[in-house]
Symmetry: C2
Subunit: 147 residues, 2 copies
Amino acid sequence: MSDVTLRGALDTLKENGVRITPQRHAILEYLVTSKSHPTADEIYKSLASTFPNMSVATVYNNLRVFQGVNLIKELPYGDSSSRFDFVTHDHYHIICTECDKIVDFHYPGLEEVEHLASHVTGFQVNAHRMEVYGTCPICAGNVTETH
Amino acid sequence: MSDVTLRGALDTLKENGVRITPQRHAILEYLVTSKSHPTADEIYKSLASTFPNMSVATVYNNLRVFQGVNLIKELPYGDSSSRFDFVTHDHYHIICTECDKIVDFHYPGLEEVEHLASHVTGFQVNAHRMEVYGTCPICAGNVTETH
DNA sequence: TAAACTAATTGTAATGATTACAAAGTAAGA
DNA sequence: TCTTACTTTGTAATCATTACAATTAGTTTA
């Protein structure tokens, strides 16, 4: 399935007149297939074996390009580096405050909040962001997860 | 009213055995009275006239202390510095993507989302964050605000 | 009140993510 | 092939935030 997703992403680039370079392809592929929400540095390091000469700047540049065409979203955190998430359907993130794990979960959507916010503030609303914080089962010790 | 809020905040500090220094008082007061959502640097600059010798480190240190006792929240963004918001009741933020203005709005609460997230992922949920993005009336040109 | 101890502040250096920029490479069209 | 625009690369610069050691202030105890 991620094959389809990747192809769609490449199409989006084409449609927007963005050249598909090997580096871009690789970065996109990494974002799609790795289920994680990688930092720029993680992407950089992961692709280092395939592209020994790739610059970190390239990663950042292209992450920005991808954001520009709404393929990915930046998830900024206070202390460390931003993480990047491939945009798929309506899903939200729940984040473990102990181990920083990010897990996706689906939710019907919060258009209602957008409407209310728009109504109350007079803004034209484009998007929203929402995250839930807590302790994951492993950190909570509820689960014998390993082995 | 912000008088009451400030006093409450000071009480919270006392209860948690946090010493109330002049700097802390001033930083808190600034957070309470300024309706904005200031960055650490804005706080630092604003208090520079009153505390010419105060260090940026002090601002950061104390913002962390205040976070520790849940008086304020950090709002991290991707590009620039984090902003800090005095925690009051259930309110959310709507952010203008053009001028970066942050406006508060109330919403009944999203416990439902927390419950669902907890149920689906097995996390113990503590908190959530939610923000709406859009264009404010002034930037949208809908309003003859100034004169 | 003074001594002893603890907490807070200060100044500055260090860190680390991100960006700017110039040079070199690459693709695409005329 | 020549020209032009776009990308990548390498590296230096920026900027927010933190670490840390030295100093100061507050609190406790005798």
